[in-house]
Amino acid sequence: MISVYYFGAIALILIGLYAILIKRNLLKILVGLSIMETGVNLLLISIGYVSGKSAPILSEGIGPSQAVDPIPQALVLTAIVIGVATTAMALSVAILIYEKYGTLNVEEIRRLRG
């Protein structure tokens, strides 16, 4: 039986993918990409979760045996930063495309037609 957290993550990934496949506005495609990223991050975090344990900050009352896996959280921290970087790059490409073609519709932009 698949957990509800995995289900939510898969749903987010699919919603993002749907936007990438169907939408024609470049900005909406980028929003879809971001939603997909969020889904992947949620999936990683929920794989690392251990029920009944708390965040991996070893303060009062939380020993090494009462904390969840720190590695997926560290990886997601990395993934978020890379996501910000790629989103910024993609947005500046979108700004350039808008300056050149005067539109963000991917079907009206000549070179992207296919």
Binding site: M1, I2, S3, Y5, Y6, F7, I10, I13, L14, L17, Y18, L21, I22, L43, S46, I47, G48, Y49, V50, S51, G52, A55, P56, I57, L58, S59, P64, S65, A67, D69, P70, I71, Q73, A74, L77, T78, I80, V81, I82, V84, A85, T86, A88, M89, L91, S92, V93, I95, L96, E99
Partner: protein, 236 residues
């Protein structure tokens, strides 16, 4: 259009089924830790940090984080290169309302302070250099929103960014000289600094230092990206 949408939905269903089948083998909430448990058991002795996530990011995988900072730097440079035009100015015409300007004047120092708090306490609380730097950048975004003529001091920001990048490598190279490998935690391993202080501010080896450097670097880089994006080309 209908055909395209139907095909897309079929593709999504196939991918979703495939993901669900794969994940049904992975039990939720069970202890699957292998190396994670090792990190949790040894994090206090080996790094002096309380927050295991930070220790993994900066200490055990410090070289990785250097690459991450590099990726962010390349993205920031790339945005600048893509949007580079000879004449670019801010063309915003409406000044922020009095609520926005007064709020900005009031909140700006506190947002900066909160960002600094997040990256200085990276080894104790959730957070660290990247979220702290992003918070600092939002303070500058607030200034951009409120004042039409505002621009970040470019020269100072570029110098700060370069110095922060070199600072990270320098800390790593000092580790190379003292301990024998790049990004060796010399403050903790060699000097034993803060051993009886774990859980307080002055502990955690070089993690607070590196996270402060990362926070400054991320803050200046994201501010630079914001600056590049709000400017528009003006004809002379």
């Amino acid at each position: 259009m209908v055909v395209k949408r139907a095909l897309a939905i079929i593709t999504l269903l196939v991918i979703g089924y495939w993901l669900a089948v794969g994940l049904s083998q992975v039990p939720f909430g069970e202890d699957k830790m292998l190396i994670g448990q090792y990190y949790l058991n040894n994090v206090k002795d080996q790094t002096g940090a309380v927050n295991a996530v930070t220790a993994v990011v900066v200490n055990y995988r410090g070289f990785d984080t250097l690459g991450e900072v590099t990726v962010l730097f390349i993205a920031s440079t790339g945005v600048g290169a893509l949007l580079w035009k000879r004449k670019r100015k801010r063309t915003a015409k409406t000044e922020g309302s009095i609520v926005l300007t007064t709020g900005t004047r009031l909140l700006f120092p506190f947002v900066m302070l909160f960002g600094a708090y997040i990256f200085i306490h990276g080894h104790l609380t959730p957070g660290g250099g990247f979220p702290g730097g992003a918070t600092v950048a939002t303070a500058f975004l607030l200034l951009y929103l409120a004042y039409t003529a505002y621009e970040i001091p470019h020269r100072g920001f570029e110098v700060t960014e370069g110095l922060a990048g070199m600072g990270y490598v320098t800390v790593g190279l000092i580790g190379l000289a003292i301990g024998g490998y790049f990004l060796f935690d010399w403050i903790w391993q060699t000097w034993q600094f803060g051993t009886d202080n774990i859980g307080r501010l002055l502990s955690g080896g070089f993690i607070p230092i590196i996270y402060t450097i990362i926070g400054i670097k991320v803050g200046t880089e994201l501010s630079g990206i914001i600056d590049n994006m709000v400017k528009e080309e003006v004809s002379e």
